[in-house]
Subunit: 106 residues, 2 copies
């Protein structure tokens, strides 16, 4: 699972974020290695939160480049996301094999 949290620079508008969402929405149809793909703006439930997050579940750790380095992903990053970023934290974690995106809640 690939996770990213982002904070935006001051001055980022709702239209800027809509363009990010539209760009990311196009990716699952182009990248079959994405088993699940969730992203969006922070819901504003807690003070001090960052502004946006992405959570991508991939076939395997080896599938990460198929997503991260996909030309359309790279284009959306450069064109729509990078100009907005104040801070970015990215992590890849292993998921339990048997459950993939469904976790350990049993």
């Amino acid at each position: 699972m690939h996770l990213v949290t982002l904070t935006w620079r001051s001055g980022v508008t709702n239209d800027d974020v809509v363009a990010v969402i539209e760009g990311l929405t196009s990716l699952p149809g182009q990248i079959p290695e994405l088993l699940s793909y969730n992203f969006g703006p922070d819901l504003g439930l807690r003070d001090g939160n960052a502004d946006f997050a992405v959570a991508a579940v991939l076939d395997s750790p080896e599938a990460l480049p198929a997503y991260l380095d996909h030309p359309e992903h790279v284009r959306i990053l450069k064109e729509f996301i990078a100009p907005l970023i104040a801070t970015r934290q990215s992590v890849q974690i292993e998921l339990p094999q048997e459950t993939e995106s469904s976790g350990t809640s049993s």
Copy 2:
């Protein structure tokens, strides 16, 4: 979905991180609002990554306090996690109703 990315202070040991993992592993059995719960150290696949991430899927945004403010979660945060943290970014995003943790990969 509640997402957190963390970087650790210098000097954090493998034993410190094992204690975090053991603490978090105990939570799903105590917090039924956690529909899925994945966490772990960064796999080291990319330079510049943060050190640890948590991805929790909840019943609803309204269920967030049942997780975040659960006494056992608060204890583990204070005792095992907070002392290790250099930086922390937290975000809550909405998931598609029909798919919950399975995303938009179709």
